[in-house]
């Protein structure tokens, strides 16, 4: 039972990271109508920046701030140089152009930092364990969960309670009308993109100490984030949150318990072979199931355009 709790926490931790990625991606899609495959590249840049600044400065908080700022800068440069011209294009163009950006970023990282995986060491105050209703849980993962939930709450406040949030919601509903009302829509686009880039950078820098930092790390999570968005419904923050937690849980619990469960239900040798394969396919099967019953996802955003 305690093992289930621990894995559920791990699932939650993975889920909030998926959420940080999904929130940015879904906002960018909702407002600019842009399919940004390069979102995973920003996640990767965040992880690399954090690892580098941590090694250089030795201070974790300072490295976090610098990495976020650097990812934001990369995001804004990318938006201004390459993506801005893509907003009016069709999805095919956006997919291919941002695919080109991925190739560029992955190779850039390989040139600057090399192809080998980088590992970051955590400072002492983050590397211990805490006692949590009978289980020892790593402090760092607990911090990731807290930060993720905090950002989710903050995002909710920004989107529902501030003027910027109002513009974001208005832009997602009908951007032509927002522009007609005299809002500087280009600036709004850049702000939203920078916002999404920073969230991706945050997810990436938090991922660094848990997973390996290497070229191509962004796409692995990106495709899982797509599953989150398809399950949750595109353009909706609430959908992104629910989808991320569900996908994070299903994936983590599936990898941990599917094999032993199959061993009980079927027979051990079959479970040994089918378990890992099935576990890695689980979230995609979940996606197919959701699509069959609700093709627009669980919480589709209302949109008029």
């Amino acid at each position: 039972m305690l093992l289930v709790l621990e894995q559920a926490l791990n699932g939650l931790q993975f889920g909030v990271m998926l959420f940080l990625m999904a929130a940015g991606l879904t906002l960018i899609f909702g407002i600019m109508n842009l399919v940004n495959l390069a979102h995973g590249a920003l996640y990767m840049m965040g992880a690399y920046f954090a690892a580098t600044f941590l090694a250089k400065t030795g201070s974790f908080p300072l490295a976090v701030v610098l990495a976020l700022a650097a990812t934001l800068a990369v995001g804004i440069v990318t938006e201004v140089v390459a993506l801005r011209t893509l907003y009016e294009r069709d999805h095919l163009d956006q997919v291919l152009a941002t695919f080109g950006l991925i190739l560029f970023f992955n190779e850039l990282v390989a040139v600057v930092w090399g192809r080998a995986a980088m590992y970051t060491t955590l400072p002492g105050w983050l590397s211990g364990h805490i006692q949590l209703v009978g289980i020892r849980y790593p402090v760092y993962r607990a911090v990731v969960i807290l930060v993720g939930l905090l950002v989710a709450a903050l995002l909710w406040v920004v989107v529902t309670r501030t003027r910027l949030g109002m513009l974001i919601r208005a832009g997602a509903t009908n951007r032509t009308m927002v522009a007609a009302l005299g809002v500087n829509i280009r600036l709004l686009y850049t702000i939203v993109f920078g916002f999404g880039a920073t969230l991706a950078g945050l997810a990436g820098l938090m991922a660094g100490p848990i997973y390996a930092v290497q070229p191509g790390m962004g796409e692995q999570i990106l495709i899982q984030v797509f599953v989150v968005i398809v399950v949750g419904g595109i353009g909706s923050i609430r959908g992104a949150l629910v989808g991320a937690i569900v996908v994070g849980m299903v994936d983590t619990l599936g990898r941990a318990f599917l094999k032993p469960m199959l061993a009980v239900l079927l027979w051990p040798t079959a479970a040994e072979k089918a378990g890992p394969a099935l576990a890695s396919m689980l979230i995609y099967l979940l996606m197919a199931a959701v699509l069959t019953f609700r093709p627009q996802g669980l919480f589709p955003a209302v949109r008029t355009r």
């Binding site: 893509l86 997919v95 291919l96 190739l103 190779e107 495709i223 890695s280 699509l291």
Partner: protein, 314 residues
């Protein structure tokens, strides 16, 4: 068939491809036979994607799945000692058509960005499946014990024979695609692409047409996969890697989508460009990425667009 600049270009390309083995033999550069064979295999894959992307407007970002299924069909049968090519390739076609049917049935219900993400996600699922099956080499892949055997009729071990088989298949598929897109079926498919609401209004139900095209494209991709695994003599989940889907899509756009010669020219151009760039620097993707971006931004009609021929078929 009328002689538009495009059909002439296609003829020139095919004749040039037919001349590769003797020329490579004269220059004593057997490597080129290998390179162009690979190119033609990808041309088949790109052509099959163009059927649904260029003519059907279905932006499938998961076409590598069918390459993988075709390759696994051949590889797995070989693993169990079945070398009969008719059986292997037959399974490759049936299996990839079935997979396309399942993926298509779910994903064609949606459209736009959903369709892109879903096709990508399903392909990633198959990729992970390949990665996790220890029996067939998991992420290391496995060597193909022998190339497909065709009861002594065709010997794939001979490079030139294999080369011309691929060329003939490419020609056959081009002909099939030509007949398809100019038949009533293809007209309806193109109508749903240009305006789905109107296609519905005149009484067509697009779903069936799209799904049929999707399955045909999948089966054709499966043949490309069977050819590819025979070409590399190595089976690996990397055939299904999502970047492969992106590459195939880029070939279609680079050549010119919605044309028949486009995918062939695109495959040639991209793979030759990759060959040149990778000989020059190991970081060739850093150059290829921005080139891709520039092509999308400034040369949407592809290389075929340079011919200045606006006819919709070819």
């Amino acid at each position: 068939m009328t002689f538009t600049p495009r059909t002439i270009a296609l003829g020139v390309v095919l004749v040039a491809l037919a001349l590769v083995p003797p020329v490579a033999g004269m220059l004593n550069q057997p490597f080129y036979v290998d390179l162009f064979r690979r190119t033609m295999i990808f041309a088949i894959a790109a052509l099959s994607l163009d059927l649904i992307l260029g003519y059907g407007g279905l932006v499938s970002f998961g076409h590598a799945a069918y390459l993988g299924i075709g390759a696994y069909a051949v590889g797995v049968l070989t693993y169990y000692g079945i070398h009969n090519g008719f059986l292997q390739w037959g399974l490759a076609i049936v299996a990839s058509a079935l997979v396309a049917l399942v993926i298509g049935a779910v994903s064609i219900r949606t459209s736009g960005i959903y369709f892109i993400m879903i096709t990508l996600a399903f392909t990633q699922m198959l990729y992970y499946l390949g990665l996790s099956i220890e029996e067939y080499g998991a992420d290391d892949g496995m060597r193909l014990a022998a190339r497909s055997r065709f009861a002594g009729l065709i010997d794939l071990r001979d490079p030139a024979t294999f080369y011309y088989l691929v060329l003939v298949l490419l020609g056959v598929f081009l002909y099939i695609a030509h007949r398809m897109v100019n038949a009533r079926f293809g007209m309806v498919l193109r109508a749903t692409k240009s305006n789905e609401a109107r296609a519905r209004a005149v009484g067509f139900s697009p779903y069936g047409y799209k799904l049929t095209a999707f399955v045909i494209a999948g089966a054709m991709g499966g043949v490309a996969g069977a050819l590819l695994v025979n070409h590399t003599e190595y089976l690996t989940p990397e055939f299904m890697h999502w970047t492969r889907s992106g590459e195939i899509m880029f070939m279609v756009i680079l050549g010119g989508m919605g044309t028949l010669v486009g995918p062939v020219v695109g495959a040639l151009a991209l793979l030759l460009l990759e060959d040149v760039l990778s000989a020059w620097t190991t970081h060739w993707q850093m150059i290829l990425g921005p080139i891709l971006l520039l092509v999308v931004l400034f040369a949407k009609r592809g290389l075929v667009g340079l011919l200045g021929d606006r006819a919709r078929d070819g």
